[in-house]
């Protein structure tokens, strides 16, 4: 939704606000200019009219009514918008074209719109009128039409309006253009950050090669520099792991190979063969712990995991089938209730996680334990859980069991690297899933909560519900299933 996104952007909001303020400012300016010009125009017209009236009064003083009427007739020939009217005391019209006689002496105003239309050019105009009585009782009125001045005023207001409109539209357009570029470039930085958070540290924010780099370029450059640093650090960590792997595995390889050759050369000696076998087993165990450490480092630091649609139920079914005979041999039982739970994930890593959880459940529970494997989806979160009815883990130790090399029994007699759950935690974190240790009352329930589901293509798993044997009655489990 580009429009909504655009409105949400700070820059676009600022541009719109600017345009609104600009239009408001121009409106206020037009109003003030209108009032001011009107006042100036009136004052100007009044001064002109007063001067005309004084000049005509002088004519009257010099030559009486006759001279005044002649002068009025003469002046009326000019087309400068000044009109006159001389009338007797009884109201009879003597000279001049001013259409109506003012009702009183002094200043008055004729509204041109209210007058009936006529051929007289003076009618239908706004006219400022000054009237005075002469000494013989006649009334002299001088008026000036505002038409020309009004035209000037409206032209002024019109140009003000167009200037304002051009300024507002042009300003908005320019802002949108600039901010559009900014939004695109900020989007580039955001996109690079998102990529990087998914582990693709070779992602970079776009930087313009402008002559004068602006603040966004500076941001993008600083951000890219940071990514490069992080990438370099991760690379060197990975390099160190690879070096350690190489440097420690090579001598171990030789020890193992020499033992191999020795065993081949002395195959007839059963006692030696047995000793070598047990030494090899020890070496293998050391290597397995070492492999687990490398694997953990790899999961945590690997650049990107291949995200594909995976049905947790299919993964769980495969692992459960693999582990079931082994569990039965050791006097335990694996039950499964698998409902479709599609996630975006790495099938190999998820398989490893489920295998580690089952390994854990088999290793740390007494004989006769029932292990319950479930997958499903609730509240928009696909999940997978492994629970058992064994002794469980005291709440005090729940956070600690996720740490490396932690074991509940201090003697460390059980086989295993102590990294199993740490690996599960790392895999969960790479999938942005939450790893929860819950009380299954009795026993432990480990649950992986994923963030968002994806629709799984109809698979064999989806068409049937996977109940293998009866699910054990467990209040916690059954409430979870009904979600």
């Amino acid at each position: 939704m580009p429009l909504r996104r655009g409105l949400a952007s700070t820059g676009i909001r600022l541009a719109l606000m600017q345009a609104v303020i600009l239009i408001g400012a121009f409106q206020a300016a037009g109003w003030l200019v209108g009032i001011a010009t009107r006042q100036v125009m009136h004052r100007d017209a009044e001064a002109h009219v007063a001067a005309e009236a004084a000049a005509l009064s002088d004519e009257y003083g010099a030559g009486g009514r006759t001279r005044l009427a002649a002068s009025i007739t003469l002046r009326s020939r000019r087309t400068d918008g000044v009109y006159y009217r001389l009338s007797r005391a009884d109201g009879a019209h003597l000279a001049g074209e001013l259409p109506q006689a003012p009702s009183a002496t002094g200043w008055s105003f004729i509204d041109g719109d209210s007058a009936p239309p006529s051929a007289n050019p003076a009618s239908n105009q706004d006219i400022v009128v000054y009237a005075r009585h002469l000494t013989n009782g006649d009334t002299l009125a001088v008026g000036e039409a505002m038409g020309a001045r009004e035209q000037l005023r409206s032209q002024l207001l019109h140009s003000l309006f167009w200037c304002g409109l051009i300024a507002a539209v042009g300003g908005l357009g320019a802002s949108l253009f600039v901010y559009g570029g900014v939004v695109r470039r900020v989007d580039g930085v955001v996109e690079a950050a998102r990529e990087a958070s998914l582990g693709r540290l070779d992602a970079r924010a776009p930087v313009r090669h402008a002559f004068v780099p602006d603040d966004i370029d500076a941001l993008a450059q600083a951000f890219n520099h940071m990514l490069a640093q992080i990438n370099g650090l991760l690379q060197s960590i990975r390099q160190v792991s690879a070096d350690i792997a190489h440097d420690l595995r090579t001598p171990l390889t030789r020890v193992r190979q020499k033992l191999d050759l020795l065993q081949r050369a002395r195959a007839s000696d059963p006692q030696l063969t047995e000793s070598i076998g047990s030494i090899n087993a020890d070496i293998d165990e050391t290597l397995r712990a070492f492999d687990a450490m490398l694997r953990l480092a790899e999961i945590e630091s690997s650049r990107a995991i291949a995200l594909q649609p995976v049905d947790l139920a299919a993964v769980a079914l495969r692992v459960a089938d693999a582990y079931r005979p082994d569990a039965e041999e050791s006097g335990r039982q694996i039950d499964a209730c698998l409902r479709p739970a599609g996630v975006m994930g790495d099938a190999e890593l998820l398989t490893h996680a489920v295998a580690n959880l089952l390994d854990n459940a088999l290793k740390h529970t007494p004989e006769g334990t029932r292990i319950f494997l479930e997958t499903g989806q609730g509240d928009g979160h696909p999940w997978l859980s492994v629970s058992d009815d064994g002794p469980g883990v005291p709440e005090l130790h729940r956070a600690a069991v996720l740490e490396r090399f932690f074991r509940l029994e201090r003697s460390r007699t059980t086989a295993g690297s102590g990294l199993g759950l740490a690996i599960v935690a790392a895999i969960a974190s790479r999938h942005r899933a939450r790893l929860e240790l819950l009380d299954a009352g009795p026993g432990l329930r480990v649950r992986l909560m994923f963030q968002s589901p994806i629709a799984t293509a109809p698979s064999r798993i989806e068409r049937r519900h996977w109940f293998t044997r009866s699910p054990r009655p467990n209040p916690l489990v059954s409430t979870e299933i009904s979600l």
Partner: protein, 225 residues
């Protein structure tokens, strides 16, 4: 079966061990100490299998196999490396390698994989597989021993089918985990051992040697005769 094998490995002790052990099994071996020499020797295409270390001086193993494939030589290659990470494994297999072995390996693991690579084309095909009275019908997914039907679970059937398709070849635990279960990690439990013993209990007769024999220290192998 005797194979002509080129071992490209810079570490002298590893190389000597691999050569000694392969010679012990009657294979014809040659050696190269760096990537460039290895590439030159492998280019004539006269070898059955190549054993290539990932970290080599002058030309690394991955580039070597890539170059080789570019020039049209399709000799199967097995990578050896100390790097066991999935990323490296994927890089190795997409770069033209056919299999991947992480150091340290025991000799049986190496020979088992080399045998499978070198004789890949010779695998028997067909709908019905027979071995000493054991008949596996791949289409109907039915198994009989001397006429008596045997009820196998899907995974057990898959396991048996895998062995029947590759008679007289040794499969190590790691190979089976990869090929049957698709596990690219080492589970801490005895998955393979348990499945194998269940399968054997169903297909073997008490008075006869087992169809699938245990190769001590190495893995399992179906004995055709």
């Amino acid at each position: 079966m005797q194979m002509r094998i080129l071992v490209i490995e810079d570490d002298q002790q590893s190389r000597d061990y691999i050569l000694a052990a392969l010679a012990c099994d009657g294979h014809d071996t040659q050696e190269a100490h760096d990537g460039e020499t290895g590439l030159r020797m492998a280019c004539d295409g006269s070898y059955d299998v190549l054993v290539v270390d990932r970290m080599l001086p002058r030309l690394d193993g991955l580039s070597l196999v890539r170059e080789l494939r570019k020039s049209g030589v399709q000799t199967p290659a097995l990578f050896l490396t100390a790097l066991g990470s999935a990323e490296d494994r994927v890089a190795g297999l997409t770069g033209g390698g056919d299999d991947y072995l992480v150091k340290p390996f025991c000799f049986e693991e190496l020979t088992a994989r080399l045998n499978l690579l070198g004789r890949r084309a010779a695998a028997p095909r067909g709908g019905v597989l027979v071995c000493r009275g054991l008949i596996v019908d791949r289409l109907r997914r039915r198994t009989t021993r001397d006429g008596t039907p045997i009820d196998l679970k899907p995974l057990e059937f898959k396991l048996l089918e895998h062995f029947m398709l590759n008679p007289d070849r040794v499969f190590t635990r790691m190979m089976l985990l990869e090929q049957i279960w698709g596990f690219k990690f080492d589970p801490q439990t005895n998955i393979v051992e348990t499945h194998m013993s269940r399968l054997r209990a169903k297909i073997d007769l008490p008075d006869q040697p087992p169809i699938i024999a245990t190769v001590r220290g190495a893995g399992y192998c179906l004995r055709a005769a």
